[in-house]
């Protein structure tokens, strides 16, 4: 037997909720942000901690996927080297739209302390970024807060097909 009694007499006698298409689509999108497993350096450890039981990303519907074709958000967690720059672009292009990018930590934001010849000075030189998280490395709480802000951003946009694709170029 069901433990929860369904109250058919509330909400006008119908078990329905009325809303708009935008809201229901954005509700689905914002509560199932599947992230690409993309730990490049030590920020990747914090990203893994966010996904593990203590911080528990599954509460937000954020599940890490190993393929860019199944992912909605790319969390660039770590130092992006110049050798790797073409691959981040390729992975980003493989993600299906709508897609978002979180730049996690100082290295991904600006190159961080790696003021050298071999480090890309900010991953926004290669792919468009929606959210920059400060910190070296950011705590899992920061990443959680970032995902919640991304949810807020998704909810604020129209859900239709006419969504403007983000292009760096």
């Amino acid at each position: 037997m069901a433990q929860h009694k369904v109250n058919y007499t509330q909400d006008g006698g119908l078990p329905v909720a009325l809303t708009s298409i935008d809201k229901i689509v954005n509700w689905g999108r914002s509560n199932s942000i599947w992230a690409l497993t993309y730990g490049l350096a030590c920020c990747g450890i914090e990203m893994m901690a966010s996904g593990a039981s203590r911080f528990d990303f599954d509460r937000y519907g954020t599940i890490f996927r190993a393929s860019p074709r199944q992912a909605d958000v790319m969390i660039v967690a770590g130092t992006l080297t110049k050798k790797h720059a073409e691959f981040i672009k390729r992975l980003y292009d493989q993600m299906t739209e709508p897609r978002w990018v979180i730049s996690m930590g100082s290295c991904a934001n600006t190159g961080g302390m790696f003021n050298t010849y071999a480090t890309v000075q900010g991953c926004d030189r290669v792919i468009p970024v929606d959210l920059y998280l400060p910190g070296c490395a950011p705590r899992p709480e920061t990443l959680q807060y970032g995902v919640m802000l991304l949810q807020k951003k998704i909810r604020a946009n129209k859900a239709g097909n006419a969504q403007k694709p983000k292009r760096l170029m």
């Binding site: 509700w27 073409e86 190159g111 010849y117 000075q121």
Partner: protein, 268 residues
């Protein structure tokens, strides 16, 4: 008229240099002070030409001819029990006399001794590969090629190891700038988007202290965020730092602190 002295690079130079400055060196000892090393050196001298030898910090340093290196390492490995090549690389002396100094750090586990084989080559010359003697030299020689541009003859796979294959320049040369030359600065832009994208993406900003509150492309003022590219006037509306909209979200309950139950009994 006074002689003109350039004043734009005063900071770059040290204001005082000692004319008679001699760089400090670790003291050297005669090889004869250590009988194990003395016997090894005598065996080595019987077969190969040894240019200079001494002991520094308990380790023997031997200078040999560049084209003897394969034979010397083979002799050290098979006859003198120096069975491990700990490390090998090069030192850039190009500014001093247009040479590279190549070193091979050897370890004998049975004798518990370390010795260093060294020689000089001119710029543009290659060294003989010791990859067939020590497998670890495979990657070391590739790294030396990557970082200094020194090739190793008879190496099975003489390509860059750390940097991408299409990289230009050798970063461990003393003439290579730490922040990269022009090729390095535009590498990812040129490769992914093409040279014509340089104007759109713009040069790298390497000033770590740079903060510009009027640049909404790169910076966001906390609590006063605006959409990217908006012109900043200074009269921005404050943004409430909140993770959820005020009116609530469809099917998601907003957390309110007052309505929540706070458990303050640690022994609950």
């Amino acid at each position: 008229m006074r002689a003109y002295t350039p004043k734009d690079d005063v900071q770059a130079k040290s204001y005082y240099t000692d004319r008679y400055y001699v760089a400090p060196q670790v003291p050297k000892q005669e090889v004869e002070t250590d009988e194990v090393f003395a016997a090894d050196l005598a065996a080595l001298k019987a077969k190969f030409e040894v240019k200079e030898s001494f002991i520094q910090v308990g380790q023997m340093v031997v200078y040999i001819n560049a084209n003897d290196i394969y034979g010397v390492l083979e002799f050290l490995r098979d006859e003198l029990t120096y069975t491990q090549l700990s490390e090998m690389s090069a030192i850039d002396w190009l500014a001093k006399d247009n040479t590279f100094e190549i070193f091979y750090q050897m370890l004998s586990m049975t004798k518990r001794k370390r010795l260093r084989i060294k020689f000089f080559i001119n710029k543009g010359e290659a060294v003989d590969s010791v990859e067939s003697l020590f497998r670890c030299a495979d990657w070391s020689e590739r790294e030396m090629f990557d970082m200094f541009g020194i090739e190793a003859n008879n190496h099975p796979f003489m390509k860059r190891i750390l940097l991408p294959y299409d990289w230009q320049g050798n970063p461990l040369l003393k003439t290579y700038p730490l922040e990269g030359d022009e090729f390095a600065a535009w590498y990812e832009v040129d490769k992914i988007y093409g040279k014509e994208a340089r104007d759109v993406i713009g040069p790298e900003i390497r000033d770590t202290a740079r903060v510009d509150r009027y640049d909404s492309e790169r910076f966001a003022r906390l609590g006063f965020e605006v959409p990217k590219g908006t012109e900043i006037t200074g009269n921005e509306e404050p943004n409430k730092q909140d993770y959820q909209e005020e009116g609530g979200v469809f099917l998601v309950k907003k957390f309110t602190k007052d309505a929540s139950k706070i458990i303050d009994d640690p022994q609950r």
